[in-house]
């Protein structure tokens, strides 16, 4: 019973949303609008609450054990300070919330993102080697793309950008399309399995 009821609710809502997506009946459209604007937001609110509580719990436990103290304290302070600033002064324009976002979060995230360039440089020296024929083909494609996306490609040979475009438009795109079709079919199958009730792992295992 504990599993059957959520399974039935899930199946019913799956079928309902599936029907609403394709129906153009005014009643269906109105119900669709209501679900999208109200119910999804309520679910999002609860999901957010679970995330915040879980984050706080994990950090508090680590503080109790004395692990990574400075990082955990900063994390929790961020979690507390940002909502307080948002509630008191709002999140618009020149508010303290936006000041912290612009002057702390943006530079920190950009810095972490920029570190990727250094890892790419290191990996290109240590790992990008023509150890086999497939690796050599991958290496040649990467070099072509890099050259064509800099301004040097056209300078070395007029055909270089054309060859790089060919790689992007045919082999690369074919592989990408195959992946996309695979993902699409996989999503469809999984959704059907969940709606019909064959897939029950989301209930915490296969013990129906």
């Amino acid at each position: 019973m504990k599993r059957r009821v959520p399974q039935l609710v899930c199946g019913a809502f799956g079928l309902l949303l599936f029907a609403l997506y394709f129906s153009s009946h005014p009643g269906a459209r109105a119900l669709n609008g209501l679900i999208l604007n109200e119910y999804w937001q309520i679910i999002f609110g609860f999901a957010l609450l679970v995330g915040v509580l879980s984050f706080a719990k994990v950090n508090l436990k680590s503080i109790e054990r004395g692990e990574d103290l400075p990082y955990r304290i900063v994390s929790l302070l961020g979690l507390l300070i940002m909502p307080v600033l948002a509630v008191i002064w709002g999140i618009k324009g020149d508010s303290p919330f936006m000041w912290i976002f612009d002057n702390v979060q943006v530079p920190m995230q950009s810095t972490v993102f920029a570190l990727l360039a250094f890892f790419v440089a290191s990996a290109s020296y240590r790992g990008f080697r023509a150890r086999s024929v497939p690796a050599a083909i991958l290496l040649a494609s990467a070099l072509l793309t890099l050259l064509s996306r800099s301004d040097v490609g056209g300078f070395l040979s007029q055909h270089l950008p054309d060859i790089a475009d060919w790689v992007r438009n045919y082999p690369s795109m074919s592989a990408r399309r195959a992946i996309l079709i695979g993902i699409g079919l996989g999503s469809l199958t999984t959704s059907l399995r969940v709606i019909i009730g064959i897939e029950r792992t989301w209930l915490g295992g296969d013990r129906a």
Binding site: S110, A130, L147, R176
Partner: protein, 269 residues
Amino acid sequence: MRLEARHYTFIGLAVTVVAAMLVGFQPDVTPSPDTLRMYEYIDSLPEGSIVMLSFDHEASSLPEIRPLAVALLRHIYSKNLRPVGVALLAEGTGVGYGLMRQVAREYDKKYGEDYVYLGFRPQYIAAILSMGESVPATFPEDYLGRPYTELPMLVGVNTYDDVAGVISVADGSFTNHWIEYGHGRYGVRVSAFVTAAMVTTYDPYLASGQLHAMVGGLRGAAEYEKLIGIGGSGARGMLAQTCSHLYVILLIIIGNVVYFRSRRKGGGV
């Protein structure tokens, strides 16, 4: 501390980028067909058309997103189109508003009449689908807290049928959702300004016509800046990008030379 090979590669990259930025030389770029297509699309829209801009990115990609968004907004304002900004990611909310306001000042545009910012709506798929049913119901108020119905620019704007198209400024997979739900369900024309890493992800959609036009990466920004005739941080960053690409190519070559020499000697790397 003893410096290892990777430390030298880090130092080399830092020196390359800083030196390239200090030189101040801007290489000439030739606009690609993709960038040209986007430029012609925006250029072809009638004056006063409403264009929905969706800021679907995080703060981390701002150095690449900002030149793209600024070039796009300059073109939009110079053509007297009227952008409506939304954000599907919370982090893009403040950034999107700041960029729209900053470029609007350059063109003396008035908020509410020439541009509007609706802000963030959680649950991106629900937000896209919900705007297809009703934009005012999805955003009863704008980002500044003004009721939707009191914004003169949005009179008569109810669904995607009332906008010329959606342009997603994205650093991840959010453009996918616009294509799958906005275009797939409601038929709205979707275009994108994306980071370079995402270009190949959207190539199949561009080829199939599900994505109308796409501009990608810092190079795309530099190309767009050239087309609109106003230089910006895209063009300024191109030399640094080119030099860092060449540096990576050099490292790949050196790495392979070292590898093959050591293999010939019978050792492994």
